[in-house]
Subunit: 506 residues, 2 copies
């Protein structure tokens, strides 16, 4: 199309590559590229990436990988074939987290309905703040939250999707603070007495990060003792609350955990609730990892008493395989606390003279402005599986974890830390040279070095990935996280065999 | 495969639908579903959703939409054809934000290379915290941040991708606070004097949200005057700092803006820096919306002085079309402030005896734990376009905004608020019945009702979407945000014609 005079005057000349009045070629080319890239994603990430005969990772040293990827960003753009090669390279050198031998984190596996929801979310590209910008997703978020609250045992309440469990946990802190001291929103913490937060030594480190970020301070997190299985000791919680009070601090929130990060322990929520009730403290349950047991008739007893909480964090991106990010904070509150504590009433988004029910403009409940849509992937997967499908998956993951635990104790050289409550299987591999030895300081020192070496070897070989860590007095041990129902007993057997192979000379 | 005895004992019987030792059918079925859904996404979202002859939105009242979507989540799962219909429905009733007539928010348009990066990110599903879990993305994030810092004018520094600009702005607050008062991390705000934050009345509402969330309090945000173009007045900033000091508060951070939300104004950064330097205050530039002008030789002068800032927020998901979410906080700091202020040293992630350079485990710089990968979409798009391609796009968007501004002032019934500095075109539509009337209270009241009605009509018709808002003494006016370079002059002309059509009887 020939440019008109005023186009020239405005700099809208076609000499910068595209005729602005005919972007159709742009869309055609772009859609072709996306279609070609989709084939690569299907082949490299989803077929090869889930094939047990392929490597779970293609290890390269950082310097070598940097060079291979040619990461530098330049002035000039590149041609499509080169860009498709880049898609291929990114796929090749990334860890295959859906691979059956990836047991390294609290996410794994792939759900194709969720993945479809994620692709659709990306293509629709909107922000979860107003009904006008996201009509489907505003209604959908409300429904998903309602259903999740029902599983917790609440017929009413509130909630919101957050970018990850750490931020969900921070919401709980802020809501508890606002509920008791609404003046904090305006005047800040200087208007308040010193606050105290309570969490067990096994709780997630986001309690510390949250206390720091919200200005409460890490030192005001009172660390409650846990028993050998990793569960918070209610008597010690009671004592720590008394201690805080004796120091003049105001107990703000008890942070209980359903499914601790390392051991997968479940705090006794009823006994925790008793203590919270006695002291009238906000009870938050960080069930980012564990809440999905609520689907299982067989295992939901682990969270008995959760209905007595004031707030619950739940990350479907972990056990439910929705993919990152998918986290919610659920609230028992029916007084609009979420909106009151976070609202700033921006007039350019939350106009008060719109033609529809403006209570559907839920964005002011959030500490964010633009907020990614995280509900569709969960909703579509839930529609596909039904709650019963989730239950079956959870039960299978438990069964697989129980299987590998039983196999492990049958073998020489494997030693469990504790019988798992959940799907975290924590154990030491004792190489032949250490078996039967005295468990003195030298032994511990040598044992501590086993897991890092085995981890290095499996990673460089690409045969599997599993995490390790020290914890308290326990030197480095493996943490096998069994969460994808689409791994097999053979994968579990392979895992034990492979540790023996990789560690037998240590 | 026949189940073995111990499978039965462990509950691993195949009667719950799948043989755990043969998940291949699961993958085959799932990949087929995804492939079918991809076709729907291509047709409904990307072809029809960008076609100017299709509607930009398919308005339904909330109750009707709820019923159409059948949102309820049930115990039983659904069959694939029904699920594909759901994909279709979600696409149909969602707003088409890539449509050339979507000018409603600070995001619009589609970049297919970015979208490819987003699909690949979703398929690879990992968390941006350690080199072992995300080798490609740790290196890539570092490179993208390095390049963005270079555009700000820094040869060194730090930074991190955050879930949105509001949280990026909160990082700046926390870093400024920690730098001056490192004891805040442990002891909280009670150990500190009252802090004061400074931001213009045109700044984004996340300053208020951040001050509240971080325990500083909204009342401790001193609101600085802006001139009629929406730019912060440095003399008033200086006075507000003196006022805060006189009240015994410690000035913590000046929050300047490059590209305000409503008017698209750019604060004078050099003059702001002079004031910050004089008072030795952290200078943060919220350039979430505006920073992309740095690509343009023609327009980067708007941010002269940005190199003098301590931190900068930049959201590529706005002007650069990466898609939500893509936001960074960039820092001039080279002392490791990001890590010091946020670290909690979780031993299960950030082991200190790994076999690779552990400084690559950058996750402890974040307030999050699991963190979505947001760098790939930007990196791949940058590789495709080069910095020059971005510059051309930015220049085109400016030219289009200038074009529509010029056309608008030629017409009766359109009145600009201010000549735009950026691509926000703010104006009133004065319907014939109000033209030439006295601008008294009655006039203002009637004018205020015009934009909501025109907005309702365009939305229900599906012809276009554009936002409106009141601001200060200004009653409701339209804010046209021209950011996608893949809209045409005809679209701009249509926009003005359509407002006239929809509002002529008011």
């Amino acid at each position: 199309m020939k440019p008109q005079g005023n186009e020239m005057a405005n700099g809208l000349t076609p000499n910068n590559g595209l005729d602005l009045n005919d972007p159709s070629q742009y869309h055609t080319d772009g859609q072709l590229f996306l279609t070609e890239a989709f084939k690569i994603i299907m082949t490299e990430v989803l077929r090869k990436g889930t094939d047990v005969n392929e490597k779970v990772c293609e290890w390269r040293d950082p310097d070598e990988l940097s060079a291979l990827l040619d990461l530098e960003l330049r002035d000039k753009g590149e041609e499509q074939p080169q860009l498709l090669q880049r898609v291929q390279d990114v796929a090749k050198y990334s860890v295959k987290t859906s691979h059956p031998r990836f047991l390294n984190q609290q996410f794994a596996g792939v759900d194709y309905h969720s993945l479809t929801g994620r692709f659709l979310t990306e293509a629709l590209n909107t922000s979860q703040y107003t009904y006008e910008a996201a009509p489907v997703f505003v209604l959908m978020e409300n429904e998903v939250l309602r259903k999740m609250r029902a599983m917790v045992g609440w017929t009413d309440g509130d909630g919101i999707f957050c970018p990850g469990g750490s931020i969900s946990n921070m919401y709980a802190l802020n809501l508890a603070r606002y509920k008791t001291f609404p003046q904090v929103k305006g005047q800040g913490l200087w208007a308040l007495p010193r606050l105290a937060v309570f969490a067990s030594k096994e709780s997630h480190y986001s309690v510390q990060k949250g206390a720091s970020f919200l200005g409460i301070g890490m030192d005001n997190v009172f660390v409650v003792k846990a028993d050998s299985r990793g569960c918070m000791i209610p008597e010690d919680l009671d004592e720590k609350i008394a201690l805080a009070k004796s120091q003049g601090a105001v107990p703000l929130l008890v942070h209980a955990t359903s499914g601790t990060t390392v051991l997968g322990s479940f705090d006794d929520l009823n006994r925790t609730a008793d203590v919270c009730q006695k002291h009238k403290i906000w009870m938050h349950v960080d069930a980012a990892w564990g809440a999905s047991v609520l689907f299982s008739k067989q295992h939901r007893h682990l969270m008995n008493g959760v209905n007595r909480a004031d707030s619950v964090t739940w990350n479907p991106h972990k056990m439910l395989l929705t993919g990152l990010q998918c986290s919610v904070i659920l609230l028992k509150d029916t007084t609009g606390l979420l909106n009151q504590s976070h609202s700033a009433s921006a007039t350019y988004l939350f106009q008060q003279d719109k033609f529809y029910d403006m209570s559907l403009d839920t964005g002011d409940k959030s500490i964010q402005c633009g907020r990614k849509v995280d509900c569709l992937k969960l909703w579509l997967m839930w529609k596909a599986l039904g709650s019963e499908g989730f239950a079956a998956r959870i039960d299978k993951a438990f069964a697989l974890a129980r299987y590998v635990t039983e196999e492990l104790v049958k073998r020489d050289g494997f030693q469990l830390l504790e019988k798992p409550q959940y799907v975290n299987v924590c154990f030491w591999f004792i190489p032949p040279s250490l078996r039967g030895k005295n468990k003195d300081a030298d032994y511990q020192e040598r044992l501590a070095k086993v897991a890092p070496v085995v981890k290095e070897r499996m990673t460089k070989k690409g045969s599997m990935m599993v995490g390790y860590q020290p914890q308290g007095d326990n030197v480095n041990f493996f943490r096998l996280v069994v969460l994808s129902p689409y791994v097999s007993q053979q994968d579990m057997d392979f895992f034990l065999d492979e540790i023996e192979r990789l560690g037998k000379d240590l």
